[in-house]
């Protein structure tokens, strides 16, 4: 850095109290230690910090399960889990250890905390502040969290040097939040669509698609379209009345009896 770290300006920037509207050259180098690579080059590029923040709150707004909301953070978590364990607070279902291992996340460093509804915020704050975990993934049953509560969580995460991944409902999109990074997640047929609602270090509003793994979306062809000899295929062709809907043909061999 060209500026001495002791100048008041640099102190303000380091304390993240000042918002640098214009990106300066060399900032990526200085902030490299404060962020971790997401594992998706397009997302790294879209984030001004160059990756996920190392600490503080980060909100992921999504409603349906299975659109790839976990796989978005799993590459970074896999790296973080090598240093410190990771906590899951009130996940909606059980994180499946063999599945996580397939995505290169060590299952032995994953801790599950179940807290009753009234104690959720307390447990989250204590866990974040303790500095034990590299990341906390939390799901809150209460969509109407107040600004004050969210700010406390963010500050606790900063103090404990913990990355707080807060999964919330898209209803909260309109509500202001102290979290410096907010992403809206929605599913598409073959990709996960991201919209960056808010991020530090520059403008927000980027939209990008992250491809889902090919082998997950691989579609089995119905037997009618298998590459067999033409003569045999001629015989296998079904009457046109049953082929009017393609979806029905896809399901034909798998339909429940």
């Amino acid at each position: 850095m060209s500026i001495m770290p002791s100048t008041p300006l640099q102190q303000l920037i380091n304390g993240q109290q000042l918002w640098p509207a214009k990106q300066r050259k060399g900032r990526a180098g200085s902030s490299a230690n404060r962020c971790s690579a997401t594992g998706f080059p397009s997302l790294d590029k879209a984030l001004h910090q160059g990756g996920w923040p190392r600490n503080g709150s980060c909100e992921l707004l999504c409603t349906t399960a299975g659109i790839g909301e976990l796989s978005l953070v799993l590459p970074a978590l896999g790296q973080l889990a090598k240093q410190r364990p990771i906590a899951w607070l009130n996940p909606p279902w059980l994180p499946f250890a063999p599945g996580l291992q397939q995505q290169q996340l060590d299952a032995t460093s994953q801790w599950l905390i179940r807290a009753p509804k009234t104690q959720q915020l307390w447990a989250a704050e204590e866990t974040l502040r303790s500095g034990v975990f590299a990341a906390l993934l939390s799901w809150s049953s209460d969509p109407q969290l107040q600004n004050r509560q969210l700010r406390r969580l963010h500050i606790a995460a900063r103090e404990g040097d913990c990355w707080h991944i807060h999964f919330r409902s898209p209803i909260c999109r309109q509500q202001a939040s102290p979290a410096p990074l907010r992403l809206l997640l929605s599913g598409k047929a073959d990709s996960l669509q991201l919209e960056i609602l808010k991020q530090s270090g520059g403008h927000a509003g980027q939209r990008l698609n992250i491809e889902r793994p090919k082998d997950l979306l691989w579609r089995q062809q119905p037997a009618s379209q298998w590459p067999v000899q033409t003569a045999a295929r001629q015989r296998l062709i079904l009457p046109p009345t049953r082929l009017h809907s393609r979806a029905a043909a896809v399901h034909a061999p798998l339909r429940p009896q």
Partner: protein, 482 residues
Amino acid sequence: MLYICLRFPLLGLDALTNTTNVQPCALVDGGRVQLLNRAAKTAGVTASMSLTTAIALCPELHCRQRDRAREQHYWHQLALWAYRFSDDVSLSPPNALLLEVSRSLRLFGNLQRLYRTLLSAYRKRGLQLRVGIGNTPMAAELLSRQGIRAATLVNARGELQRPALKNALAAAPSRHLPLAAPQLSVLHNMGLRRVGDVLSLPRKELLSAFDDTMADTIERLTGRRSDPRPRFQPSEHFHTERQFDGGLQQCEQLRLPISAMLRELEIYLRLRQRLNRDLHWSFHFLDGHHEHWQTPVSLRHFQQPLLLELVMLQLQHVRLPGPVERLTLTCRDFIALETPAEQLFDCPEQGRQQDAMQQLFAKLQLRLGEHTIQRLASRDALLPEHQGIACPSANYQHQRVDQQALRPSWLLTTPLELDQQAGKLCWRGPLEILQGPERLDSHWWQQRQVRDYYIAQHRDHGLCWLFKDCLSQRWYLHGFFS
């Protein structure tokens, strides 16, 4: 060898009450006054005065019946306390403690500093204390009858001057010698008023004038004959209690006494090189009933401030049913203290991380319940619900499984049965099957499970993991590929 004798002249009274200097107090045993504090003495009450006379002299006299068991217990507690000054502590009946301090001198610097620390430590508890210093246990006991100030025995650098000690012993009155009454009166009649007079007599003369016990006492006093004292052994269980006159109403008021009790426990544990596993509290209320509490402890080290926070956390949500009159703390289960194996290239960061984790889990478990914290594990099993589980950290087992087929990142612990609408599977909308089946056939020895697993896509583009139970022909949702 250097001995310090701590004499507590008002031990019986101190054991029962802490307000010895404010109002006149007296300890009564068998209708007669036994011990009295300074306020009572100024009012004209004397020892062995009958109770009626004493009350006639001083109507506001606060009389307490002697309780030997509590006195004994309190005495032992004081002995436990003295362990911070020396490793060799013995009880000296009826109301004194003997400490061998020659090795402690180096720790505390010099005698003057040790003496001051000792005095202030006991004075802080509001105890009357007299100190005796001597080369032999008996000399220390003898000098503690009157009390001696270390300042008269040390030089400018705080080191002990042996001749001064000898002079102090010689100047002590001979009536304090531990001898039978007839012998003491003989000494008195012979004009031997000081210990120095007795010691200056030739040994032969002494033997001819008195019997063997006299010569024995003198030899033990001067150190010519060894005088071994049994060392004080702390009891197997830890027990301490606090009495609150009038009762305490609020939890926050209990913080100070609880903190002091935990500190006592800390000393006890350090002494025995043990670690406790739980704290048993019992609250005795003014109306007579009592309640028991337990604080589970699972820390690697005993840390008093942290433990205090845990206990206060537990008390935070409790409404005391009434004023607390007495609070006791008991610990029965102890484990041997593990000395952490420190490697040469070990990073201290890891140990701190471990400690922080234990502290956090102790807090969470105390407030949220025992089984709130689990750890993910995988097992080498056939069915998915046995393959990936969350098990409590106490009995954690993990086996690495190498799964070839695709596995979801979320698992429903109880599979959800799916509806079918017009021949299509539905779960919050229609499901479109992408690939499958993957057959699992197992548990024929218990209840046979034949399942065909499929990956399906939801209307909102979420990827689900379904299976068809081939025996019952029903469809279930079992996970999500998140």
